[in-house]
Symmetry: C2
Subunit: 420 residues, 2 copies
């Protein structure tokens, strides 16, 4: 079954809001075995909504439409759907009753009238989740399912996973192509370099195997997709390709699928019962933030210091002021002292420290913007790695944080630590 996704909203076509819902829907549906042939984003105008809907219904087996279901004046989806496909909107009193019942406070007549709009749905609309504020609905047209979902990401995601995907799986004539897929996540190698490393695998010209490359700054992701009806054959091809890709990418391959650098590192720290602490200058707390996005990180993260000023490097990390005077705050000596300082202060096993120049100002001929020293103190030794990143402030901070975590990963795996 081929599907299509239509996102509706001026906020999307004017670039004010990033369309994350279509991407999420595409990812979920793809994983469930459906091909998404196209994604369209159109303005809140009847003509364009209508045109996109007609085109999608004609050429695809199912359609997901997001946005424009709300009570504000720019929400037009229901009316347009009704007119375009021939299911005039009618007042769904049971929907309105539930909306009223869920109101947490008394509202005035005017607001209530506005909310009536949420219950004006096309004839034949089947409510997906009566309990949700934005209930979503299914219309069957020409024997094809069309799902209408809210544009607000978390409301849409819930309906998609809990209602849409189960309904699609039961759809008669369903023929999801059996797909096995894995995304390999790489840090420290460029797209062309990766392409070169795995090019011998692409030359085999097996149409059942697809390899794609996607820079997702500062990482590069490589996807392997195997489309094959026969399950054991599919598993066999997949297993071979997987092994070859892993060999080709070597230790720059840090994870797969939903892995992030921070959860890979977190898992290693947890398993090896190591406690880490961070001392950050130019990365301004980004490393600590990344570590603590992972639930349960309190088990292996003691905490950290953002020592933006020299004063704080001395007061909170015990860095000798003479070191800063002699070598400058951005120096291997200070990176080392910060790493040892945070490790000692927090009684952690690993002290991770960074000092550098994120820009846009502060660079010199000798130490240009992007110069970053990363210090790594362990019970046995302290290493300092010099990195010369390029990019704007955001990119330098991001590279600094991911590179730092990658160094911890390499340290814990006992593999070589190398500067970018």
């Amino acid at each position: 079954m081929n599907g299509e996704i239509i996102a509706i909203g001026d906020e999307l076509t004017s670039g004010r809001v990033l369309n994350t819902t279509s991407r999420y829907a595409a990812g979920m549906l793809f994983s469930a075995g459906y091909e998404i042939t196209a994604m369209a984003t159109v303005r809140d105008t009847p003509e364009e909504i209508s045109e996109a809907l007609k085109r999608a219904v004609k050429r695809s087996d199912f359609v997901i439409v997001t946005g424009g279901l709300g009570a504000t004046s720019d929400d037009l989806t229901n009316e347009v759907v009704g007119e375009t496909l021939g299911y005039p909107v009618v007042f769904h009193s049971e929907v309105f009753d539930r909306i009223k019942a869920r109101l947490s406070e008394k509202v005035d007549e005017q607001t209530l009238n506005r909310l009536r709009k949420l219950a004006m749905l096309p004839t034949g609309a089947e409510i997906l989740n009566p309990e949700a504020r934005m209930a979503g609905y299914l219309l069957v047209h020409d024997d094809k399912p069309i799902f209408f979902l809210p544009g607000v990401p978390h409301e849409m995601k819930e309906l998609l996973t809990e209602k849409v995907i189960p309904r699609l799986a039961l759809w008669h004539g369903n023929s999801a192509v059996p797909v096995k897929q894995k995304v390999f996540k790489v840090f420290g190698l460029g797209e062309t370099e990766i392409n070169r490393l795995v090019s011998h695998l692409e030359e085999e010209e097996d149409s059942r195997v697809r390899i794609g490359y996607y820079p997702v700054f500062p990482e590069v992701h490589l996807s392997l997709t195997v489309l094959e009806e026969n399950e054991s054959e599919r598993a066999k091809i997949f297993g071979q390709m997987e092994k070859e890709i892993e060999t080709a990418l070597g230790d720059s391959l840090f994870g797969a699928d939903d892995d992030s650098m921070e959860n890979v590192v977190g898992e290693l720290l947890r398993k090896q019962k190591n406690l880490i602490a961070t001392a950050e200058s130019c990365s301004g707390g980004l490393i600590a933030h990344k570590i603590t996005t992972v639930p349960g990180s309190s088990h292996y993260f003691a905490g950290g210091v953002v020592a933006y000023s020299n004063d704080l490097k001395e007061k909170l990390l015990g860095v000798d002021p003479a070191l800063i005077v002699e070598h400058g705050a951005v120096s291997p000596e200070v990176a080392k002292a910060m790493a040892v300082g945070i490790k000692t202060k927090t009684s952690a096993d690993i002290g991770l420290a960074v000092t550098g120049i994120a820009g846009p100002t502060g660079g010199t001929a000798e130490k240009p913007v992007g110069t970053v020293y990363i210090g790594l103190a362990t019970p046995d030794t302290t290493e300092v790695i010099l990195c010369r990143f390029s990019g704007d402030r955001w990119q330098v901070q991001e590279l600094t944080a991911v590179k730092s975590l990658d160094l911890v990963r390499r340290l814990l795996l006992g593999i070589s630590v190398k500067a970018l």
Copy 2:
């Protein structure tokens, strides 16, 4: 002039990569006065690229195509364009010469052959930036400009702003609708509440005025667009509406357009010559990270501590261990002690501290996940605000950080500080 954007790539339709380039292009073009009527995302297959291209060329005045220009095997744009529109690809030797000249190291014959693909462009293609690695090109078809740009965000952005928009501005018959637009950024009010506050402005039914509402978690953005040929009339309508919206939104309106909470707060701190320092528990460094994304933040940010463990709250912030034993780490007493502690340690003017439960575990009946105490110590006083956020770990951390910064904003502006 109406335009359309086509993004090409399996990585987009399979949901592996979020399409940020189309959004960026839409935003830039909209600001420059063009209407983007639709955005399409299609797979790397000749049929779908061809169909999208034909449709766009037919109904729009200009088209922006991104992606599929690279040297890897899944890049098909050039060939498909050539076939679809009738401009067969030919080898552009001057393009290839520049590619070779830019190679930083010697490459083998095989790699060189692969790079030849970058120079196989449709007949009549006009290179946009010969100096760039991914040069992009312009094809004029039926007297309409079609711009082909790389899919990698920063490469695409550079070509768009430096080459495409200037070229479009000079296009004969150009009729960009004169638009004046502003995005109002709000924190602490929901979309429906904002809709209610400004509904009287929408009832005027002036077709030249458009108001839109966009939740951009954890903020809500309201956009005002005035379309009117006459410049002074446009400015007049805009000025009136702007004033009314500002009145309606009150002090929950924290900024406009490119403002972020962190740069608004940064600007206030800089102007008032205040130094701030942070002590974070459940937000794990996110507040420090947000503050330090702003260039020049070292002028007003002393630094901070991520005191994830109780031990660190004592060692780095001087919190009395008895307080933690008596009231728990998540308590107003500890929030206050942390705020005072970081202020004292760093000699800052303002100490901002948070302690709470980000989840998914750690909640109790009395202090469920989402319970956060924010402490704010100033030279005069120390306030503690209790917040009860809902959402997942990411949402609670994000709400904690933005709410904390909003409290600093309110403090510096002398307006009321209220819990969510």
